[in-house]
């Protein structure tokens, strides 16, 4: 891409469209451009995705450093330049949701953050369920699966991964107990996630192989071997561990039914199972740019405003009873392409995306606040880069 002949031919093409004249212009007659700057139409190709009415075009961005060498423009990424241009701006920060703008970064990097958020940030989730009694109609496996998907509000950084031959201890396991019973003669009972009670001292169920008589004096062996209670640890002493949402229905019990179980939560990553993903979803969209290619006035303007379901356009008075359409808030554009649906309107309105400006949204499940999740994701990417560098050197 970007050889001398190609760019020159593009030159002539664009001039003809821009000036709406179809007279042939020699390449040599074109106006000179200041050095170090791309002609506007190539600059457009470099920085924008064009969203036509049939398909988006120009979706690939130009990575090659020498792509515009023929025009004397250096396309390489300079650290200085990146540092000056890169910008993060928080738009909206709620308890579980974060929307921010990330400007001046390559899509591959923005995507890397998204991927890490979904798949590689660890959280704690229930992995093992020891069922002592379950007389409800919900099957053991299904119950365990439902419990696994309940988000737990605990900082996973305080825990370690449990590998295959590890014994569950206070550093890698959180134990919950659930005991619900619907008494005979009463109404149907909903078992909510709030019934999951944290057991800071580990499991209370005695291991099956243990003989009760053999070690009456010593503490009987259970399914976990905690050396100390988790609530003596400073992190949890005044902040008991519990599910993030208290109103998730785990099961429904009919009269006389009972569920008694113990759930062991361990640390894991979203790529092994979605229950460990710390985000409901994380995604970005490129900043919409809506450009009116010509002045749209009066009735046409009214029609245009009416067309857009999300009110991208507005009308301004230009005096003499004339009205003109303006682009009021391009950011809300959902790309329904309603404004360019009608024949010929794609000559009036251009829908574009800025390919280095990302509107990033993180919906946290609640284990960590979304802003922490993002910084963690950055750390993980950093770690990965370092690993590559050390491997290479």
């Amino acid at each position: 891409m970007g050889t001398a002949t190609e760019s020159e031919s593009m030159d002539s093409e664009s001039t003809s469209t821009q000036e709406e004249t179809f007279t042939k212009v020699s390449v040599w007659d074109l106006p000179d451009l200041p050095k170090g700057k791309l002609p506007p139409h190539i600059e457009l190709q470099r920085t924008r995705v064009l969203c036509g009415s049939l398909a988006p075009t120009n979706t690939e961005n130009v990575n090659y450093s020498g792509a515009y060498a023929a025009m004397g423009v250096d396309n390489s990424v300079r650290f200085e330049q990146f540092r000056n241009n890169f910008k993060v701006e928080i738009v909206r920060l709620e308890e579980d949701e974060l929307e921010f703008d990330m400007v001046g970064i390559d899509p591959s990097l923005a995507n890397a953050f998204r991927r890490i958020l979904i798949a590689e940030l660890p959280t704690m989730a229930i992995e093992k369920v020891l069922i002592a009694n379950n007389t409800s109609i919900i099957q053991d496996e299904v119950l365990a699966h439902r419990l696994g998907l309940i988000p737990i509000e605990v900082d996973p950084r305080l825990f370690e991964y449990m590998s295959e031959n590890d014994v569950p201890n206070e550093k890698n396991t959180i134990v919950f107990k659930l005991h619900a019973r619907c008494t005979k003669g009463s109404d149907r009972l909903r078992v909510l996630s709030s019934e999951l009670k944290w057991l800071p001292n580990g499991s209370e169920l005695i291991l099956g192989t243990e003989h009760p008589a053999s070690s009456s004096s010593a503490k009987p062996k259970t399914y976990t071997s905690f050396s100390c209670s988790q609530d003596t640890l400073p992190e949890f002493s005044n902040d008991p561990i519990a599910p993030k949402d208290a109103d998730i229905i785990v099961a429904k019990l009919g009269p006389g039914q009972e569920i008694e179980l113990e759930a062991h939560a361990v640390k894991g990553m979203g790529k092994t199972h979605a229950k460990w993903s710390p985000v409901a979803t994380a995604w970005y969209r490129m900043l919409p740019e809506v450009v009116l290619l010509r002045d749209i006035e009066d009735d046409e303007a009214e029609a245009l405003v009416k067309k857009c379901p999300v009110k991208v356009f507005d009308i301004e008075d230009i005096g003499k009873g004339k009205k003109r359409a303006t682009v009021a808030q391009p950011r809300v554009c959902t790309l329904c392409r309603e404004c360019i649906r009608e024949e010929g309107w794609d000559k009036n309105v251009a829908l574009r995306r800025v390919n280095d400006h990302f509107i990033f949204t993180i919906e946290s499940t609640g284990a960590l606040p979304p802003e922490v999740l993002f910084t963690e994701a950055v750390k993980i990417l950093e770690e990965k880069c370092e690993r590559v560098i050390t491997e290479l050197s």
Partner: protein, 630 residues
């Protein structure tokens, strides 16, 4: 019959041969028996129909005039499908506005419409005598009947299809067959029944795009599928030939999860000599203890236990003597019993759990014990799925969520379907279903897709759906701007994406996959057994053999057809050409015809071949082998 004669049917017995063959008189046939003849069949049929509408004969009696055969068929027997239709006179419906008002006020019901001769039942034959208009406004003076509602033309299976009138007709036919294989809920008492084989869906949903039939048959209460967000695009090449790409995170969250239950039964038989089988306590120590882990003290597997291959699920013993009389039938010593315990033969993989144990007595008053065994399965590569438009496909690959494309609103598809499924199948209904469901989720109203429903308002039109989509910021054509999950850049096309109701069909790889190295053989031919249940071999059939012959791969044929199947070393007599036997004492082959072992040679041939020779010999045909030096 009497009424027929009253209407002018002339009894057959009183007719002469000439009268019988007069050209313009019709035979009157009641349930295949000739009643007599009638001169003006149309008047007779109209009279009979009037009688039926008046309630003088039953509503399911059909009167059918067959002009070709010069017959009037009256049928009152069972087994004919009848459909109710509104009667029209000169193209005007008999049902008037005041009837409908009465219906609304609860004064009328269906039976009163029938009684008053406003509605009547037609069977397939009588339908051929009538001109049925779909809608009242389409009725012409010739119209005899008007449909109550066009979608009632279709039954339950076809009624579940949204927009079937936009599909190519074979697709609807396929779906009618496939809908029955879909997993879901079967009944409200499904967990109390002891079905032989039961496939249930863990999280069934009601379709986002419903039809009136769905509501009428209760499919929205006992669904058999899930609404999956489908992106119609190509992805990864593992989606060719109708295969679908699935999102791993969706599967993790319970999409397509199903429960398979299977019944195992055992009977505690009582015998003629008053002895009976008995259940005994399992051994808790010793060599057998491991296989009896899941047994309760009563010798039956306990519910909730995980059952593994070769586990015993019922520890039963049968008396050795069951026919001749014994002295004390109930107090037999332990030695008089032999073990007849039953072991579970399952495969490794998904854990299997005892779901329920039921005890009851059967028709011979024996104690019958039934075990329901349960497996919960998540979808895997090779499981079969289908939409409601006869578009089945197997899961070709399961992809991590982060690799899948995502939309402007962060929506990730649960399932990716290859667009090549559309042009040749012409299932436009599926596309409309996608649009309608998408509009449905955005505006919060279930959309309808009844058959022929657009004019009557029972189906949402594409225009209306598009309008809703636009109102909620989607493109009118349902195509979204999508980013690639791998590169992070936008895709070069807008992708048709939205929810489609998908059914999981009961054909799963876990039940079908099969391979074998060495294994059991059939006794007679010594060839490998056939079929998965017998751990059989995979056959190189005639056509495969043809290919190998054409290719000239003689060694491969030799290896497949003999060495890997039924090689046999035979002793052949060079003199008489018959098969001999090998004498292990003398360590030589002996020909039983020549009574000596002088001219014996050994050769390899398929055992089936040797069997053939011997069978031929048994019918007095002597096959002789002429051996030459190789």
């Amino acid at each position: 019959m009497e009424q027929c004669y009253d209407l002018g049917v002339e009894d057959l017995e009183q007719l002469s041969a000439a009268e019988l063959h007069t050209p313009n008189s019709y035979l009157i046939i009641l349930n295949g028996l000739i009643l007599g003849k009638h001169k003006s069949p149309q008047r007779f049929a109209n009279g009979m129909r009037k009688l039926r509408r008046a309630g003088r004969i039953r509503e399911f009696v059909s009167i059918f005039v067959n002009d070709k055969q010069c017959c009037v068929y009256i049928a009152s027997d069972g087994g004919r499908v009848c459909r109710p239709l509104v009667i029209a006179e000169k193209g005007v419906s008999r049902i008037k506005e005041h009837h409908m008002n009465e219906l609304r006020n609860g004064v009328r019901d269906f039976n009163s419409f029938l009684r008053d001769g406003l509605i009547e039942y037609l069977d397939v034959n009588e339908e051929n005598n009538s001109l049925i208009a779909l809608y009242e406004k389409e009725a012409t003076p010739d119209t005899t009947h008007i449909e109550i509602e066009p979608f009632t033309i279709l039954g339950v299976c076809a009624g579940l299809i949204p927009y079937p009138h936009h599909n190519q007709s074979p697709r609807n036919t396929y779906q009618c067959a496939m809908g029955k294989q879909a997993m879901g809920n079967i009944a409200y008492n499904q967990l109390n029944r002891m079905d032989g084989l039961l496939y249930l869906l863990v999280y069934p949903q009601r379709p986002l795009l419903t039809t009136r039939t769905i509501e009428l048959v209760g499919y929205d209460k006992l669904g058999a599928g899930q609404n999956a967000t489908v992106a119609v695009m190509s992805y990864s090449g593992y989606d060719i030939e109708d295969a679908i790409v699935m999102n791993k995170s969706s599967l993790d969250r319970g999409f397509g999860r199903c429960i398979v239950m299977k019944k195992y039964a055992a009977i505690c038989q009582k015998y003629k000599n008053l002895t009976s089988d008995r259940l005994i306590k399992p051994q808790r120590q010793g060599s057998e203890a491991e296989k009896m882990q899941i047994l309760d003290d009563d010798g039956l597997a306990s519910p909730g236990e995980i059952i593994r291959n070769r586990d015993i699920y019922i520890n039963k013993e049968s008396p050795t003597v069951t026919i001749t009389q014994v002295t004390s039938p109930m107090g037999l010593p332990d030695s008089a019993y032999k073990s007849s315990r039953q072991t579970y033969k399952g495969t490794e993989g998904e854990p299997t759990v005892i779901d329920r144990v039921a005890l009851h007595s059967d028709e011979n008053n024996n104690l019958s014990i039934k075990f329901m065994i349960r497996q919960t399965r998540r979808p895997e590569i090779g499981d079969k799925f289908s939409s409601r438009h006869g578009q089945k496909g197997v899961c070709g690959i399961i992809v991590q969520q982060e690799d899948l494309p995502f939309s402007e609103r962060g929506i990730c598809p649960d399932l990716i379907m290859n667009p090549h499924g559309f042009p040749s199948r012409m299932t436009v209904g599926k596309m409309i279903e996608l649009l309608g469901s998408k509009a449905g989720v955005s505006c919060g109203r279930f959309h309808y897709g009844n058959a022929f429903g657009e004019p009557s308002g029972h189906a949402d039109t594409v225009d209306a759906i598009s309008e809703t989509l636009v109102k909620h910021g989607f493109s009118y054509n349902g195509k979204d701007f999508i980013y690639s999950g791998i590169t992070g850049m936008p895709l070069q096309a807008y992708i048709f994406m939205g929810p489609i109701y998908y059914q999981k069909l009961k054909h799963m790889v876990l039940d079908k996959m099969h391979a074998r190295g060495s294994g059991p053989r059939v006794m007679m031919t010594r060839q490998p057994t056939e079929g998965r249940s017998r751990n059989g071999g995979l056959r190189v059939g005639e056509m495969e053999r043809d290919c190998l012959i054409a290719y000239g791969a003689s060694m491969l044929i030799h290896e497949r057809l003999m060495l890997s199947s039924d090689p046999f070393e035979a002793q052949v007599c060079r003199k008489c050409g018959l098969l001999g036997y090998y004498n292990y004492k003398l360590k030589i082959g002996i020909c039983s015809m020549c009574k000596n072992g002088e001219n014996m040679s050994t050769m390899k041939l398929p055992y089936a071949c040797k069997l053939l020779f011997q069978e031929l010999q048994s019918m007095n045909i002597v096959p002789r082998l002429k051996l030459t030096e190789a």
